[in-house]
């Protein structure tokens, strides 16, 4: 072991707070004057550092410290609970989400019943490709075409009657129309509008009860 290695070992041993040097270091330090002096100097330096640090941090605590803190504690407001802060934040978040969702739903065009989209979705012949029903051409020609009076777009959206058609009814109607080519006669009979002559032949007769005997209410002999 040379002097440089020995001094490094001495430094490491003193920095680690070891009281006794390793045997090979102690042997070299005892035989080498330079390393012996180095050891003594470094040991004194470490002791001085330790003494100074201990005197620095172990000074007496001022007696006014804790009373001053207590006095200031009494003036302070009650600290908020952690859970209340988190819950208030959660409540705020819920309110914000609700406000956003309500605003979004109000601004959606199909959500309002008077909106044009809602009105058009009530009819089966709408632009929705999944529910739009197109009857066969010959069947459509068998009915008289209704007279459509074209008006402005602003008037048509509000003047048209509102019919709410359930989704199940719409699907059933679509199925019915799809099966029309197979039972066309039945369908025509069922969907044919009534004629004026058929209406005139109807007669409403009064109900007659012939075997009905009316008696006045009288008390029995026992009463």
């Amino acid at each position: 072991m040379n002097c440089k290695q020995c001094q490094e070992k001495i430094m490491e041993s003193l920095a680690a707070g070891e009281d006794v040097l390793a045997p090979e270091v102690a042997t070299h330090q005892n035989s080498c004057v330079v390393c012996g002096e180095f050891y003594v100097a470094q040991r004194n330096l470490f002791q001085a550092v330790d003494t100074e640090l201990q005197s620095l941090v172990n000074r007496p605590v001022p007696p006014a410290l804790l009373p001053a803190v207590r006095a200031r504690l009494d003036e302070m407001p009650v600290p908020r609970r952690a859970w209340s802060a988190s819950w208030s934040f959660a409540a705020l978040a819920v309110v914000a989400i609700m406000a956003v969702s309500i605003g979004h739903s109000l601004r959606r065009p199909g959500s309002h019943p008077n909106s044009p989209k809602a009105t058009s979705s009530a009819s089966p012949s709408v632009s929705n490709p999944q529910t739009a029903v197109h009857p066969p051409r010959e069947w459509r020609n068998s009915f008289p075409k209704p007279k459509v009076k074209r008006v402005g777009p602003a008037v048509s959206s509000t003047a048209a009657p509102e019919v709410i058609v359930l989704e199940e009814e719409r699907q059933a109607f679509a199925k019915f129309v799809a099966e029309l080519p197979e039972q066309r006669g039945v369908a025509l009979t069922m969907t044919r509008p009534a004629l004026e002559a058929d209406k005139d032949s109807l007669e409403i007769a009064l109900l007659r009860v012939e075997s009905l005997e009316l008696k006045s209410l009288e008390g029995t002999p026992g009463e």
Binding site: M11, E12, L14, A15, A16, G17, A41, Q42, N44, L45, F46, A48, V49, D50, E52, L53, Q54, L56, V57, N58, R59, V61, P62, A64, L65, L66, A68, V69, R70, R72, L73, M76, V78, P79, R80, R81, A82
Partner: protein, 188 residues
């Protein structure tokens, strides 16, 4: 019209709000922590600032901050570690602001006379040793500095320092070894 107030035995008056009850409970719990850890806060601040008046101010501030967030502390056993961290941070901030102020004040003064290099024995024996040690301490990394200060406080073993810092004992020993080595190398 006469009013009657029903007071149940062991109960509280209607006027005593829940906030006051909670405040008194908090006070009781914090008082126990204050008596135990108040001196430690002062010593940590003193180790950083090396000035009793400043250390007292910082310790007070740290204790009040700890009280403000005392409810958030779920484990009271961690109060000591929590307080040490708060105090160390506040003390470092105070020390930095003091240094900045001193630098501004001495900006126009004459440059310091650099002393001639002296031997190790002379340094240890001289009156300048304390100021040299302070400068060497300031140059240390914060984590080394804190370990060095806590290990120097009487009554705290390395195991307790490890608990306070929330690190393994081997880490404390390693940091302490490196801190002492660097400190002495700066003083040589």
């Amino acid at each position: 019209m006469q009013e009657f107030v029903l007071i149940q035995p062991g109960g509280t008056l209607e006027g005593e709000s829940a906030g006051e009850i909670r405040k008194s409970r908090l006070h009781r719990e914090f008082e126990a922590c204050l008596a135990e850890c108040g001196p430690l806060a002062f010593r940590v601040a003193q180790g950083v600032l090396r000035n009793s008046a400043d250390a007292e101010d910082v310790a007070q501030e740290a204790l009040l901050r700890a009280y403000q967030k005392f409810d958030r502390l779920q484990d009271l056993k961690r109060f000591r570690a929590w307080l040490v961290r708060i105090t160390f941070r506040l003390a470092l901030d105070r020390w930095r602001s003091t240094k900045r102020r001193e630098r501004r004040e001495t900006e126009w003064s004459l440059p310091e006379q650099q002393p001639a290099p002296a031997s190790t024995e002379e340094i240890a024996a001289s009156s300048e040793f304390q100021s040299r040690l302070e400068r060497a301490l300031e140059a240390l990394p914060e984590k080394f500095r804190l370990v060095l200060l806590l290990a120097a406080i009487q009554g705290y073993t390395l195991e307790e320092v490890a608990k306070i810092l929330g690190v393994p004992l081997g880490t404390v020993k390693s940091r302490l070894f490196l801190a002492r080595k660097q400190l002495v190398e700066k003083l040589r």
